[in-house]
Symmetry: C2
Subunit: 442 residues, 2 copies
């Protein structure tokens, strides 16, 4: 049996994950609405034999567009456009369960899965922000309520994907029988949040179910992931935190009758790469110098739920109380980081600008590979969510310099083995729950 | 000034508009979920210099999948995949206002418009069927109610497209000013159906507004079209009906402060093409012989709202009463056709199988061109919605044989003049309603 292999996802965030990326000479800010920019990123990722590309999303114009390149494209629409210029790479789109209907979501992902030949993945989010609620005319639902809806949403979506069994399509021109209607099923789902009759009006996706991805780190989020998710993107700053999260989450799967290897854990890492340490530090410094402090303070104020705009930049982060709702895990991560490394407000902003709370690693390709290998072999990761500071250059640097290093160490594929996203991730294709078991011979 | 020119849209319906198309040797039924099939269709349409391609849609598996190739792809997702392999052709997707949220719809069309470089169009439907309501857990709203929602939906969507003024993006790396936030606007829309704060989180679409298309022929539908639509797809069987519809609809525009040329009327036509009349009739007969009568009876029963399954196939259509709700214009069209031509049930099924109530014209390219020219020059059409019986062969026949005939007669472009769908259709690009007028010099 081959040695355990890394799984690598390229997180495509506009023109880079660093908040000042758009100001850097290597970035082209107009790229954020230019499909060719994203096609180029997908092609680079595929050249590097990465498992997948991923697009985050929110349903409001948040952040401060005065100082950041926002206003990009809707992920599902964009990924359909990337499907046609790629062949192997998985395509993961973020879609909310709070402000959507299961029928639409099931259908769009089934369509993307057909279009891409089985490369679609869904990053399931529950949309925590007040700003999003206001674009849909509702009060923001409480955390528990959002996860309750998400669970029922998942049940309906997966049933809709199952509603056409494999083999339901006969396509028999002679008899005129296009489909075996005994193998296409209504759901007649009636639940707390949804009533959906079905069947879906798009036939069964090539993967059976497009891959289910999740990123919540709250208790509800981890429980949801343990039950449904097949890959988890997560933000962990230290190896110890990474190990704790990894063993915690994996230990929860048994409750739902799942094996530990049925869910992959991919912490985020923002690699600032140089051919020498000095060159990498130079790039880091260039990016830091482009940060607009007022912008960073505003972002941080949003994460922490307090107004820090009058706090001196060169003093330590003040004591702040955890807000009742919202991104609690992100709050803890940021305040822990500030305490652990005794960061001033300015330093903290610099650290967060690189990866919004994700781990930033600056150095040579060897050093980046060392870090990846350490986490991978120490029970902290099944792979990584790669968040280049500037795009496309940072992704090209990773693919051209870090990937060969990982390949040389036997940690990463040198060719694609399969054609679907599930095959890239080494995950099984689920059967339809409506499938009749073959009758047992008596 | 150049002579008035036809506008031609290719209506892409699975493997053909004829209900038995999937059984014909020229069709490949697996095409209905194969992106390459649709890419080929889009490429053929673009080779013919057509204005646009169009995908119909419904939100339920209706019709009888036992005998027809159903279960295809969601239009917006599919058109994004076609955008990347075409350069000039418009991409029109059907999306419902009854089972969607304006924020999502505005964003997806804005994204498709960016991805395609200004080639997106939205065919606005209100989803009349009971089957669709059941996939969204609601009672089917009444006709008036659906159009009331649609009007408010349109208001919100167009405001969201306007919420970023042209020129709001500065992209000034030096100063760090990405956008002029004074030119990005909240809507704070509060209406009967929606409360939407805005702004959109995708910047202004290249066309300002993606093209607005509509197809309803009821009173509410025509009034809605007169107010909002820029192109209308319609089913008209006779020249006189076509002329009446054309002058009726055009006469309504003035009420909304619009000129008659701000809306294009495109009747459907299903051309069954042969290099001789005999060859065309042969193709028509081949398709008719593939019709499954029980399937046709079921379809017709659905349109008329009565069960015709026990009615003798070779007797005339019985008297049937118009249903209270549903597709009233389609009911009238079908019963008028049966009466006018004294059709038996079997003959009526044959006629409807070709174009579902749209006009079928069988003959040589010259004869098809004659029909198109007659309607175009007699006040019945600004162009046509081309519905080939079998795809891709029927579209290739139209493009390779009918289009050159229309070009030779000076009725149709030989090269694209612009790059956007609005430019193809000769329609202006709307300014943002938030745009400040330049101050008048005093």
């Amino acid at each position: 049996m081959a040695a355990r292999q890394l799984h690598l996802n390229a997180f495509l965030m506009g023109v880079g994950h660093h908040e000042a990326a758009w100001r850097h000479p290597r970035a082209e800010p107009a790229g954020i609405t230019d499909v060719r920019h994203y096609q180029r990123l997908a092609e680079i990722a595929e050249r590097g034999k990465l498992d997948s590309v991923f697009l985050a999303d929110g349903l409001a114009l948040w952040g401060n567009v005065r100082h950041n390149a926002l206003g990009g494209l809707e992920p599902l629409t964009l990924l359909a456009a990337l499907a046609t210029v790629t062949e192997h790479i998985g395509l993961i789109a973020t879609v909310s369960t709070t402000y959507n209907e299961p029928f639409h979501v099931a259908r769009k992902f089934a369509s993307l899965d057909h279009i891409s030949g089985g490369r679609a993945g869904w990053n399931i989010v529950t949309s925590a922000s007040e700003a999003e609620a206001r674009n849909f005319g509702v009060e923001r639902p409480a955390h528990k309520e959002r996860y309750d809806r998400a669970a029922e949403f998942l049940q309906v979506v997966t049933e809709l994907w199952d509603s056409w069994e494999d083999g339901a399509i006969l396509g028999d021109r002679r008899s005129g029988d296009y489909a075996d209607t005994a193998r296409i099923h209504a759901l007649d789902h009636v639940g707390r949040h949804f009533r959906v009759r079905g069947p879906l009006n798009t036939s069964r996706p090539p993967q059976g179910h497009p891959l289910l991805v999740q990123a919540g780190s709250s208790e509800d989020g981890k429980e949801f992931a343990a039950r449904y998710a097949e890959a988890v993107f997560t933000a962990q700053q230290t190896l110890q935190e990474g190990q704790e999260f990894y063993s915690d989450l994996k230990s929860r799967l048994g409750r739902y009758g799942r094996r530990a290897d049925e869910l992959l854990i991919l912490p985020g890492i923002s690699p600032i790469i140089g051919s020498t340490e000095r060159e990498a530090l130079q790039l880091e410094r260039e990016l830091e110098e482009l940060i607009i402090p007022a912008y960073g303070v505003q972002q941080l104020s949003g994460i922490l739920g307090v107004d820090l705009s009058d706090h001196p930049l060169d003093s330590p982060l003040p004591e702040v109380a955890q807000p009742a709702d919202g991104q609690q895990s992100r709050f803890k991560l940021v305040t822990d980081l500030a305490r652990r490394e005794r960061l001033t407000l300015r330093e903290l902003i610099g650290r967060l600008a690189g990866g919004r709370g994700h781990r930033v690693v600056t150095g040579t390709p060897e050093r980046i590979a060392d870090q990846i290998q350490e986490w991978f072999t120490s029970g902290a990761a099944d792979g990584f969510n790669i968040m280049p500071p500037v795009l496309p250059s940072g992704l090209a640097d990773f693919v051209d310099h870090v990937v060969p290093e990982l390949q040389a160490r036997g940690l990463f594929r040198t060719e694609y083995g399969g054609r679907t996203l599930r095959q890239n991730y080494g995950l099984a294709r689920p059967a339809s729950r409506f499938e009749q078991k073959a009758p047992v011979a008596s």
